[in-house]
Symmetry: C2
Subunit: 200 residues, 2 copies
DNA sequence: TATTAGTTTAACAAAATTGTTAAAACAAAC
DNA sequence: GTTTGTTTTAACAATTTTGTTAAACTAATA
């Protein structure tokens, strides 16, 4: 692994654990096993390093499921595929949600910029979903409901446990690996709740 | 309103918006319409101010629903009552979840201490819920499932939209008031999904 | 061997931030 | 009108943090 990669890996760890404001260049350097001077030699500033990492996590967080959402699968199968994809992804990147969501909270303008460059495709995807729901409703398959609301419900059930990871680990007396197993073990529960929850 | 209250209100705003590390004493002072010296005159340090505010939000976040969870209501009614209580509370304190969860993420030891002083009651509440689910399952009312997992599902559906508030507002082109109306408008959706999702 | 890119060390500059202090101003209460 | 608690001002100390720089060192390489 190159030094640049080592630094990025260390920075990813510290930034996602502490957030931008509480992260310290010194800690990143120590984590990477090098000194602060070399940090600036590779990545001019803290902001520049952060941008690279945030961009990466932001993208992973938002656009992974996009393909499934806009596919031609029936709703019930979409739900299954999305939940499966989300949980498998999150187990491998459990730090993403709280990191991205908190940085957006601290600095909401950031999202507006990024969303505007990708905003209309999302709105269109939601509209297409609305149409699909209406069609399947008329076919007697599912309840009538807002596509946006359904998307939020699916994402809520998948993502929230990772946002509250430390609380769940605390209450359930789990270490990180146990938590991951637990999160995956709820996959079928979540799919069942959603599918039974919306069927007519 | 006393100066002390003004300061606490301003500090609450800044801390919950920015988090501890990014919050600036200067900004709190300006927000309260006073100067930095007076901040320290009332509350010795940044840490002390933060402790007071975090304690308050932490408590509101975790122990509001506790009474309903441990009540003797049937599961289906519990779900209704909890979702109702959570959404009404969150609409009035939309900043709580991301603030509390992120601070726990940055500083997980904090929760261990507080949870240990309240940890066993929570574990016992979950055990009682497990027993209730088993009973109602044998009565043919609901599916067999883990109480802990169900609690997480309920909380996920209620709380996550507030954690992702800025994203939802961005995608849906909403201001804060519109978001609150939207969040409340999903109440019956959430109750339906949960109740239909777990019934036999 | 000389060169080059990468790396360390150590010192330091610059800025930001928290916290302290003394003196004066003010307003209410006694 | 004096006292008391509150508030402002302004300066400043202390600390933390980011970023810079120069000099020396190392290891690979031309």
């Amino acid at each position: 692994m190159t030094t640049e990669e080592q630094i990025l890996q260390a920075a990813t760890k510290v930034f996602t654990e502490k957030g931008f404001a509480a992260a310290r260049m010194d800690e990143i350097a120590k984590e990477a096993g090098i000194n602060r001077a070399l940090l600036h030699y590779y990545f001019r500033s803290k902001d520049k390093m952060f941008e690279i990492i945030f961009e990466d996590k932001f993208h992973k967080f938002f656009f992974g499921v996009y393909g499934i959402f806009t596919s031609d699968l029936p709703i019930m199968e979409k739900i299954e595929k999305i939940v499966d994809f989300e949980l498998e992804t999150l187990v491998n990147h459990p730090e993403i949600p709280i990191f991205v969501l908190n940085e957006i909270n601290v600095n909401p303008e950031r999202i507006l910029n990024r969303m505007n460059s990708a905003g209309s495709p999302i709105s269109e995807a939601v509209k297409k979903l609305d149409a699909q729901i209406l069609k399947e409703h008329e076919q007697g398959i599912i309840k009538k409901m807002s596509g946006f609301s359904l998307v939020i419900a699916i994402i809520s059930l998948c993502v929230f446990p990772f946002v509250a990871k430390n609380v769940i680990m605390g209450v359930g007396q789990m270490d990180l690996d146990t938590f991951k197993v637990f999160a995956l073990s709820r996959k079928q529960d979540i799919i069942n709740i959603l599918q039974n929850g919306i069927k007519l």
